[in-house]
């Protein structure tokens, strides 16, 4: 690990100013990905600004949304009673991620900012466009069974690992950030960047901008939602494929639909095409199949991960069936 200077911020403005003033500085929150990648030498900030003492650890309940302080841990958010009642898809996604120990450490802001990563990103002996732009992508010809089929490019096919971010894109969450030039709000669906010429840039944040809170609109009271995660092990494992699904079904007709995909894409994936198929249709096996087909529209398989396309479709169908059964 490269040596670094450390300071502990006591106010948001101070933290932002300190990081903004130093191109080699980074925020430190839960550290579960950052410290790990620093040990590997993949990340080497010269200065860490510890933000864990900032007053950003809360869950506020509004009329139409929950407002989650960026330093709220995954376990704390999962334990919130309103989340359990009105946002089950988010709660399930939280509890299916990582382990209790990691969820106690990991913050919600940090979860959204965890690096999109693969074994080649972590391996300093391999080319990686994300770690060293322009060097190539070792995963394209390498071991890529876990890699993405949606949102890829010839520059990078690493999978975004977050579960809860998949639920949050489906829920139309909004990220509130504070930067050197003030505050702004960014819909999560506009937050992540696909890996194009600069796969090292994974989101729209500018250096020094800090996530302060996440606004999660509540689902309608009559919505049913689920997060289904398919993986090699029963627990403590990344998704091969996952689906965050919410439906409002009235008189057999789908009035509202949300579909997000995880484990198969380079960013938390909102499957708008699938939602268009579902909205206004009569709930049933056929329309679920059509929606699943639309969800993987444009998927590009590589040698070892083509199975993920069929798996993602089945995951979507199973998730839709599950909420549809709950609703009837």
């Amino acid at each position: 690990m490269r040596s670094f200077d450390y300071s502990r911020a006591t106010a948001v403005g101070e933290a932002v100013a300190t990081v903004a003033a130093d191109p080699a500085a980074a925020f430190l929150a839960g550290g579960t990905t950052q410290v790990d990648l620093m040990k590997d030498g993949v990340l080497a900030p010269a200065r860490l600004v510890d933000i864990t003492r900032l007053p950003l650890r809360y869950v506020h309940h509004g009329q139409d949304a929950v407002h989650v302080g960026a330093l709220t841990s995954m376990e704390e958010l999962a334990a919130d009673p309103v989340v359990a009642q009105r946002l089950p898809v988010m709660r399930e996604a939280l509890l299916l991620g990582a382990s209790v120990q990691l969820r106690n450490m990991a913050t919600m802001g940090g979860n959204l900012l965890q690096r999109t990563r693969c074994r080649y990103f972590r391996d300093l002996t391999c080319p990686c466009n994300k770690r060293e732009p322009g060097t190539g992508c070792a995963a394209l010809q390498g071991v890529h069974r876990m890699h993405a089929v949606l949102g890829t490019s010839e520059h990078c096919i690493a999978t975004h690992a977050s579960d809860v971010a998949v639920a949050l894109v489906a829920l139309d969450a909004v990220v509130h950030v504070q930067g050197p030039e003030g505050e702004r709000a960014i819909p999560l669906t506009d937050f992540y960047l696909l890996p194009r010429e600069e796969p090292n840039r994974e989101n729209v944040l500018r250096h020094g901008e800090l996530i302060t809170s996440i606004e999660v609109p509540l689902l309608p009271a009559n919505a049913r939602s689920v997060y289904l995660k398919v993986r090699d092990r029963t627990s403590y494992e990344f998704a091969l494929s996952s689906a965050a699904v919410a439906l409002v079904v009235r008189d057999g007709v789908i009035r509202e639909a949300r579909v997000g995909l995880g484990g198969v894409a380079t960013v938390p994936w909102r499957a708008g095409g699938a939602e268009d198929v579902l909205r206004g249709a009569r709930a049933g096996a056929e329309v679920f199949q059509s929606a699943a087909q639309a969800a993987v529209q444009g998927a590009i398989p590589h040698r070892d991960n083509a199975f993920k396309i069929e798996l993602a479709k089945r995951t979507v169908v199973r998730a839709l069936q599950t909420v549809s059964d709950k609703a009837s």
Binding site: M1, S3, F4, D5, Y6, R8, L28, G31, T32, V35, D36, K39, D40, L48, D50, T52, E75, A98, S99, V100, Q101, L102, N104, M105, T234, S235, Y236
Partner: protein
């Protein structure tokens, strides 16, 4: 002719690695340390405080051998920088050993033969203490799910689950 000040000084170079003054509160006792900013809580415990009950398994947040309690919550000490623990309450397996509440769990692990090599056991015990406090040991399935952050290379899982369930269900027969 001062005291050697670390490897860099001994080699005659003058590279100053940033050090910070940290007061760590571990198992109820406070210790003042000057630590390189890179030192993890795990290394601070083992190398600076001689508390070697907490184990270094993978050192990358995957195995759970380094599990400790910080402010009452189970965390991975290998991914936590020691300097960030200033003012926090850290409890290790050594601290729990002085707490009588952990005795039934230790005895159940012995009774159920819930280990072979024993390397993961301190982490398993700390994690299980937290699991019981969280109220998540109501079924075998829950124990498996909420203990999944603690890997046992010897594969003693069935016996670990049985030991924890024993304690959760109040069966605390004394060790013969």
């Amino acid at each position: 002719m001062g005291q050697p000040a670390g490897p860099a000084a001994r080699e005659g170079t003058r590279i100053a690695f940033p050090e910070v003054a940290v007061t760590l509160r571990v198992n109820g006792a406070s210790t003042h340390l000057a630590l390189d900013t890179r030192v993890t809580l795990l290394d601070a415990l083992r190398e600076h405080l001689a508390l070697t009950g907490t184990k270094k398994g993978c050192d990358q947040g995957a195995c759970g051998a380094c599990t400790v309690l910080v402010d009452g919550r189970r965390v991975l000490s290998c991914l936590m920088l020691a300097v960030t623990c200033e003012g926090r309450e850290v409890v290790t397996i050594e601290g729990l050993s002085e707490d009588l509440a952990v005795r039934p769990l230790q005895e159940a692990f012995v009774r159920h033969d819930a280990l072979q090599c024993g390397y993961c056991t301190p982490g398993q015990i700390v994690s299980a203490v937290a699991l019981l406090a969280e109220g998540r040991a109501e079924s075998d399935e829950d124990v498996r799910e909420f203990m999944s952050g603690n890997i046992c290379r010897c594969g003693a899982y069935p016996n670990i689950v049985a030991a924890i369930r024993d304690v959760a269900s109040g069966s605390t027969d004394a060790l013969v």
